[in-house]
C-alpha cells in the first residue's frame, strides 16, 4: 500500500488540529490495510493495477476556468469549486440561504467542527473500506453542508471537484458531509471533472435525520484517463427520503461504492444510475442497500451502455436484516453491449433474513428492442439514426426521472452529444 502514497499525504497543508489528527489516523489505517485483489469477491472484476504507481500529493492550481477546461454548471444556487482538492474562491459563488450552513472543514466554527467530528466517518465502516481511510489521509479540505431543522434550501447546492493535469501522477481526496436535520429539505449536485490521469478519491457522506428529504446527484464527467475510487455512504432515519442519482462517463478506472443504510422505519430511497463507456474505460458500481428496520422501501435502477473495449461492472446488493419486515425493495440493472470486445459483468444480489418482504431484482444484458427499432423505421427514421435515438432514450429515461429541471436540462444535451443524436427539439419547451 505504501507505494501508492507519497510521504506528504497533505499532512503539510495547514488544517485545524482535528483534521490533522484525522489525516494521521487515516494514514495509519490505510498503511495497515491491504489493497484488495481480484480474489476479493468485491473486486473480482476490477483490477487495481492502474494504481500500482507512486502518486504525488496534488498541488494547488491558480489557472483560470478556461485554462482548466472547466465548464461551470449553471444549475442556480451556491457553487463551491475545488481544483485538485483545494478551494478556489475566485470560481465559487455563495448565495446566502438561511436554511443552510455551507462551510469548508478548514473554516468551520467550533459548533460546526463539533458536528463534523460527530458525523464524519460515522456511516463509513472503515475496516471494510480502506479507500475511505485513504480519503482521510490525503484530505486537503472538505465541505460540510448542514440543512437546518424544518428548513428548505431555496436553491440547489453545487460542488465542483475538478482536477488539472499535473506534472506527476497526483492523488487527491474530495469529501462532502451533508447533515440534513429533522424535516429539512435540500438538493445537492456534485460534479467530478478534470483532465489527465489523476487519482481521485471522492467520498460523500449523507446523514438524513427523521423526516429529512435530500436529492443528491453525483456526476462523474472526468476524462477517459481518470482514476477514481470513491463512494457514497448514507444513513436514513425515520421517514427520511433520499433521491440519489449517479452518472459516470468514461474513466480508465472508476469504482464507486454506494451504501445506503435504512436505519429508521418508513425511510425511502430512490437510487438511479447510469454509465456510458467507450474506448478502454472501466466503471464499477457496487451498491448496497442495508434494510436494518421494518417498513422501508428502495427503488434502484441502473443502466449502462458499453462499447469498444470498455468493461462495466455492476453489483447491486439488497440486504434485508432479520426483523426488517414489510420491506419493499426493487432493483433493475439493464445493459446494452454494443461491441464484440466490450464486457459487462453484473450481479444483483438479494440477501434476505425476514419473510414478510417484497423483494425483486432483474438484470439484463441485451440489445435494443427490435420492435422499437421497427416502429421508428416505419416513421421514416433510418436504422442507424433510430439506434442512436433509442440508445439516447434508454439512458434518458433515467434523466427524466430526476426532479431538478436544471439538472435535466444540463444533462440532456450532453447525452445527445455523446450519442451524436440530432435532437433539434427541446421537449421541455414543447408544451408552450
Amino acid at each position: 500500500m505504501a507505494d501508492l502514497l507519497t510521504p506528504q499525504l497533505n499532512a503539510e497543508t495547514p488544517a485545524p488540529d482535528w483534521l490533522q489528527a484525522r489525516r494521521l489516523a487515516g494514514r495509519a489505517a490505510w498503511e495497515s490495510s491491504e489493497l484488495p485483489t481480484r480474489k476479493t469477491e468485491a473486486w473480482k472484476y476490477t483490477s487495481l493495477f492502474a494504481l500500482q504507481q507512486p502518486f504525488m500529493a496534488a498541488r494547488e492550481s491558480a489557472e483560470s476556468a478556461e485554462e482548466l477546461g472547466l465548464e461551470l454548471p449553471q444549475l442556480a444556487g451556491s457553487r463551491l469549486v475545488f481544483v485538485n482538492g483545494f478551494w478556489r474562491e475566485d470560481l465559487s459563488e455563495i448565495e446566502p440561504d438561511a436554511a443552510i450552513e455551507l462551510v469548508r472543514f478548514s473554516e468551520a466554527d467550533q459548533s460546526q467542527a463539533a458536528l463534523i467530528a460527530q458525523h464524519l466517518g460515522s456511516v463509513v465502516p472503515g475496516n471494510k473500506h480502506p479507500f475511505s481511510a485513504l480519503n482521510d489521509a490525503v484530505l486537503a479540505d472538505g465541505v460540510f453542508l448542514r440543512i437546518l431543522k424544518g428548513s428548505k434550501a431555496a436553491r440547489p447546492v453545487q460542488l465542483v471537484w475538478h482536477n488539472s493535469p499535473q506534472v506527476d501522477a497526483a492523488i487527491n481526496s474530495q469529501r462532502l458531509l451533508v447533515l440534513a436535520e429533522q424535516h429539512s429539505e435540500a438538493t445537492v449536485v456534485e460534479h467530478f471533472s478534470g483532465q489527465g490521469h489523476s487519482f481521485t478519491n471522492g467520498l460523500t457522506e449523507l446523514i438524513l435525520a427523521a423526516g429529512a428529504t435530500l436529492s443528491h446527484s453525483r456526476l462523474h464527467l472526468e476524462s477517459a484517463e481518470a482514476l477514481h475510487v470513491g463512494g457514497l455512504h448514507a444513513a436514513l432515519e425515520r421517514d427520511a427520503t433520499l433521491n440519489s442519482f449517479h452518472v459516470a462517463f468514461g474513466g480508465k478506472l472508476k469504482r464507486i461504492d454506494i451504501v445506503i443504510n435504512h436505519l429508521g422505519q418508513g425511510a425511502h430511497c430512490q437510487l438511479d444510475g447510469m454509465y456510458l463507456l467507450r474506448g478502454q474505460e472501466h466503471v464499477d458500481y457496487h451498491t448496497c442497500i442495508e434494510h436494518a428496520v421494518p417498513h422501508c422501501t428502495t427503488d434502484e435502477t441502473f443502466r449502462g451502455i458499453v462499447g469498444d473495449k470498455a468493461s462495466a461492472v455492476f453489483n447491486g446488493r439488497i440486504h434485508i436484516h432479520p426483523d426488517a419486515q414489510k420491506t419493499r425493495a426493487e432493483l433493475s440493472n439493464k445493459n446494452l453491449l454494443t461491441s464484440a470486445t466490450a464486457e459487462v459483468n453484473t450481479k444483483p444480489e438479494l440477501e434476505i433474513y425476514a419473510d414478510d418482504v417484497q423483494c425483486a431484482h432483474g438484470a439484463t444484458v441485451a440489445q435494443l428492442d427490435e420492435s422499437m427499432l421497427h416502429y421508428l423505421r416505419t416513421r421514416g427514421i433510418p436504422a442507424d439514426e433510430a439506434l442512436v435515438l433509442l440508445s439516447y432514450g434508454f439512458i434518458n429515461a433515467l434523466v427524466e426521472k430526476q426532479r431538478l429541471e436544471s439538472l435535466r436540462d444540463y444533462l440532456k444535451p450532453r447525452l445527445a452529444d455523446y450519442f451524436g443524436a440530432a435532437l433539434a427539439v427541446d421537449s421541455d419547451d414543447a408544451g408552450g
Binding site: H374, T378, R379, G380, L390, L398, E400
Partner: protein, 250 residues
C-alpha cells in the same frame, strides 16, 4: 398507386398470406375485413417491411417502385404509413423528439426543407388539438403510459404530420369508445384527398359508418375471397363471417 399481385407471406414458417391480390388507385379508400387469424394485420406488416415477415412469392408495386426491395424507412419516405394496432412504447425518447426526427427524415428524403423548430412545434400542437390529445403528450416518452385510445390518437397525429400518400390503419378502431372513434374518423376524413389513399384494416363494420370506403374486401385464409362496395360490409355485419364459410369458401 399500390398493386399487390399473388402475395404469399409467412411468419415463423407458417403461411399466412396465400396469394393476395389488391389494386389501390389514388384517392381511393379500401377496407379489408376478415375474421381473426385471416391475415389482416400481416398484410400491414408485410407492406411496412417488419422483420420476421417473409415474402415467399408475389410482388408489390408502390408508386412505380418495387416495394419489397426497399428498407422500412425508405417505404416511409415514399409515403407509406402504417398506423399500428399495438404501438410500442419507447420510454426516454419524448414524443416531440421522435416526431421531429421522423418528419425531418421524411421531408429530407423528399427534398423538402426541414421545418424550423418553432414552425414544427406549432404544427405538432395543431395536430394534437386535431386528435384531441393534450399537448402534454408531446413531452412524454413515445406512447409511454398512454391508454389504448391515446396510443391510437398518437398514431393518427403522426399520420397528419407525415402527410403520407398511402395510409394503412391496422384495426385503429378496435378498443376505441364512440367519441374516440369519431375523433379518429374525422381526422381521417379531413385527410382524404385526390392524391392520398387509405387501406382500413378492421374487424368491425362500425368504423365504416364513419369513414365511407370506396371498396370493401373480405380476407379469409390469406386471400381476398370477396370484393364489393360498402354494402358488402353491411351484409357481413348482418350475417357474420360464418356466412362466407358456408358460401364459396367452404
Amino acid at each position: 398507386m399500390l398493386s399487390i399481385k399473388d402475395l404469399h407471406a409467412e411468419v415463423e414458417g407458417k403461411n399466412i398470406l396465400k396469394g393476395l391480390n389488391l389494386e389501390i388507385r389514388e384517392g381511393e379508400v379500401h377496407a379489408i375485413m376478415g375474421p381473426n387469424g385471416s391475415g389482416k394485420s400481416t398484410l400491414g406488416h408485410v407492406l411496412s417491411g417488419r422483420p420476421g415477415y417473409e415474402i415467399t412469392q408475389g410482388s408489390v408495386e408502390f408508386l412505380g417502385k418495387d416495394l419489397l426491395e426497399l428498407d422500412t424507412e425508405e417505404r416511409a419516405h415514399l409515403g407509406l404509413f402504417l398506423a399500428f394496432q399495438y404501438p410500442v412504447e419507447i420510454p426516454g425518447v419524448s414524443n416531440m423528439e421522435f416526431l421531429k426526427a421522423s418528419v425531418d427524415a421524411v421531408r429530407e428524403s423528399q427534398g423538402a426543407s426541414a421545418y424550423d423548430t418553432v414552425g414544427f412545434m406549432r404544427r405538432a400542437r395543431e395536430a394534437c388539438t386535431a386528435v384531441d390529445l393534450d399537448q402534454a403528450f408531446l413531452k412524454r416518452g413515445v406512447n409511454e403510459g398512454f391508454s389504448g385510445g391515446e396510443k391510437k390518437r398518437n398514431e393518427l397525429m403522426q399520420m397528419m404530420l407525415l402527410e403520407p400518400r398511402l395510409c394503412i390503419l391496422d384495426e385503429t378502431d378496435s378498443g376505441l369508445d364512440i367519441d374516440a372513434l369519431q375523433v379518429v374518423a374525422s381526422g381521417v376524413n379531413a385527410m382524404r384527398s385526390e392524391s392520398r389513399s387509405f387501406l382500413l384494416v378492421t374487424h368491425y363494420q362500425r368504423l365504416l359508418d364513419y369513414i365511407e370506403p370506396d371498396f370493401v374486401h373480405v380476407l379469409a385464409d390469406g386471400r381476398i375471397i370477396r370484393s364489393g362496395d360498402k354494402s358488402l360490409a353491411l351484409e357481413l355485419e348482418a350475417k357474420g363471417y360464418s356466412w362466407l364459410d358456408d358460401g364459396e369458401v367452404a
